[in-house]
Each structure stands twice: as C-alpha cells, then as structure tokens.
C-alpha cells in the first residue's frame, strides 16, 4: 500500500494505534525514571527519504539514536531519538549522577539500549495485542552522532521500497515542572509492504 494513497481515516487509524502503543511505552518509561511522562499528540509525516534528517532537526545535529527493527507479522523500524542533554538526564535518572555531560561508554550505552528495548517492547506488545498479531523488537542499536549518520541505517531498508518514508512521531517529555526535562522523540516507520496489517486491524481501510 503506497504511503501517498492513504486517506485521512487511515492516517487517523495509524495515529491512534501509535498513541495506544505510546501510552504503554510512556508508562514503562515513567516507572523507570520515577517521573511522570507527558506525551504530545502524535503526527504522521510522509516525506522523501532525503528529507528525513532535516526533519529530525538537521542532518548535523548531534543526538543519541536507538533503532530497532520490527519483526514478526508486520515489518518496519522504531527510532528513539534524544538530544544530548536529554540522554544525559535520562542516564542520571537511571544510574545516578553521571558527571556534567554525556559520556558514552559500555555502561551508559547499555543502559540507553535497554531503555530502547523496554519502550519498544511495551509499544509493540500493546499493538500486537490490539491487532492480534505477533510484533517483536529486534536487538537495539545505538549511535551517538549526527542525525544523518544515526538514521541512515533505518532509511536503507525503506529506500529499497521507494523514495518515501512515513514516520508516525510522538514527542514525549519528563516532568514538565522541572527546569531540565527529558525530551525524546519516538518514531514508528512502517514498511509499506506490511502497512495493511496496521490498517486492516482497526475497522479496516474505509472508502
């Protein structure tokens, strides 16, 4: 099902599905960091693959990215992106104060990948239950580098199907009352070949 042919009802279906998954992921994150986590309204972006790094804030922007493949009945990728300061704050919440700035070593990498794993699992498990399908996250991969370099791995798969990427994106923030809130972006990038699995679930393609 080509991305461009989706109508508004189908796009709303995808957003709603993602929202449900995100609710579970946010609960898991909240329990890990001991703070409430607030979700923004999800939105769907369909753009050329070449524009994805810009859409993420700039191809040169430094960020921590955790990516996972979706395996099982539907395929695609999940990306969890954190700006540097947020990755650092997240690590402080998880591991205790970690110096003044973000340092990547075996321990911090492992902790962040674990966060990715837990969020992706919560998200996919919720979706899987709703759709009555098996959705499993792959082993997470982490990179702390420029946005373009962090995401091109995810774009390689997608580009074999065409020139477009669809991203269902939810921004989340830690305790908004604190001066330094953990901010992150969660992206679901479905593979166009299995998009029907998501669409057919909740009421099916209308119209």
């Amino acid at each position: 099902m080509p991305f461009r042919e989706l109508n508004n009802v189908q796009l709303d279906t995808l957003k709603e599905l993602s929202n449900i998954g995100m609710g579970h992921a946010a609960t898991a994150l909240s329990q890990m960091i001991g703070q409430p986590v607030y979700l923004r309204v999800p939105h769907v972006t369909i753009i050329e693959i070449s524009q994805v790094p810009e859409h993420l804030g700039g191809a040169e922007k430094l960020m921590v990215g955790i990516t996972l493949q979706i395996l099982g009945d539907a395929r695609g990728s999940i990306m969890l992106l954190f700006p540097e300061e947020s990755a650092h704050l997240l690590l402080c919440s998880l591991l205790g104060q970690q110096g003044e700035e973000l340092v990547m070593n075996e321990i911090t990498e492992s902790a962040l990948k674990e966060v990715g794993n837990i969020l992706a699992s919560a998200y996919l498990s919720a979706l899987g239950n709703l759709l009555n399908k098996s959705l499993i996250p792959s082993v997470p991969l982490l990179a702390y580098d420029m946005a373009g370099a962090v995401v091109d791995y995810v774009l390689i798969d997608l580009s074999q199907s065409g020139d477009l990427a669809m991203m269902i994106e939810t921004d989340f923030t830690g305790d908004a009352n604190q001066d330094f809130a953990i901010k992150g972006h969660f992206f679901l990038l479905p593979d166009p070949a299995t998009l029907d699995i998501f669409l057919n679930a909740v009421g099916g393609p209308h119209g």
Binding site: P53, L62, L141, D145, M146, A149, D152, Y153, I156, D163
Partner: protein
C-alpha cells in the same frame, strides 16, 4: 540551501560553489571534479548497487547508477570526461557488529561499489576517507577540487 546534497541526491555545479553533504553514516559521498573547467558534482548515495529488475525511485540513491548519472550530467555541463577525478568518503559502520547481518556491512559495500564503479569508468580515485564508525560531514570546494571531511565532536579535519 542550493549547495546541500541530501540523501539519494546528486548535484552538479561549478567553481566557486562549495557542495556539502551532512551526516554521512553508512552513506557514501562521491565527489567528481574536472580541474580544468572547475565543474564538479557531489553524490550522496545510500545503496551499493542498482537492482537489475524493478529498481525503485531515483538513480542517485544507488552508488553505481548514481556515479554513472553524475558522469553523464557533468559531461553535458561541459566537464572533460577524461579530466575527471574522484574523491570518496563515508561508508562507516555506525553500529557495533555484535551480530553479523547484511545491513551492518552496508558502509563497506557502498565503498567497494564506489571503487569498482570508478575503476570501470577509468576515473582515478585521488582521495578516500571511508570506514570507521563515526558520522562524517563533507564540504566539496569546486574552486580547488578539495574535499574537507570532518566528524562531529572531532577536532581533526581531513583534507582529500
């Protein structure tokens, strides 16, 4: 920006323009240049080889087809075919190869495809900065033909 070359794009231009590609991970940037006319091009490619059957989308997302296409456009723009030289960067392996999959070596496959395609076209490769596990940004100065490559959080810049 007119001088930015995004993923799966290629741009042809002339001195004194500086063509830029940002955030190269496993992607490869190929710079072709004719020193006499100052005409050059930068391609930002994602996949090593264009499939024979059912290729989807633009040519410039493939290393091999993208290089061929750039050479055609350069010649049409007035560059001398026999004067072209190449510089290549990118092709990093961004993630640890804890488990071997096809994807993990895509960076090296992109680099290999670039070398092979350039060899087939008889275009000398005069500078190369590939591999590793860091993202790169490249600035290709068409006034000099020089390619400046640097990493985020890195102080060193490499000049090709």
């Amino acid at each position: 920006m007119a001088d930015r070359v995004s993923i799966a794009q290629a741009r042809i231009d002339q001195a004194p323009v500086v063509l830029k590609a940002y955030g190269l991970g496993s992607c490869i940037a190929v710079g072709l240049y004719d020193p006499e006319t100052g005409i050059g091009g930068l391609g930002h490619m994602l996949l090593p080889c264009r499939p024979v059957k059912n290729p989807l989308g633009s040519e410039s997302k493939y290393v091999d087809a993208g290089i061929y296409q750039m050479v055609d456009e350069l010649v049409r723009a007035g560059a001398r075919r026999e004067g072209l030289v190449a510089r290549v960067t990118g092709g990093a392996n961004m993630f640890e190869t804890a488990y071997q999959t096809l994807i993990n070596s895509i960076g090296s496959r992109n680099a290999r495809s670039a070398r092979e395609t350039l060899a087939k076209l008889d275009i000398p490769l005069v500078g190369e900065e590939v591999g590793g596990n860091r993202g790169r940004t490249v600035e290709f100065d068409l006034a000099s033909g020089n390619m400046l490559v640097y990493c985020a959080r890195g102080i060193e810049k490499v000049s090709l």
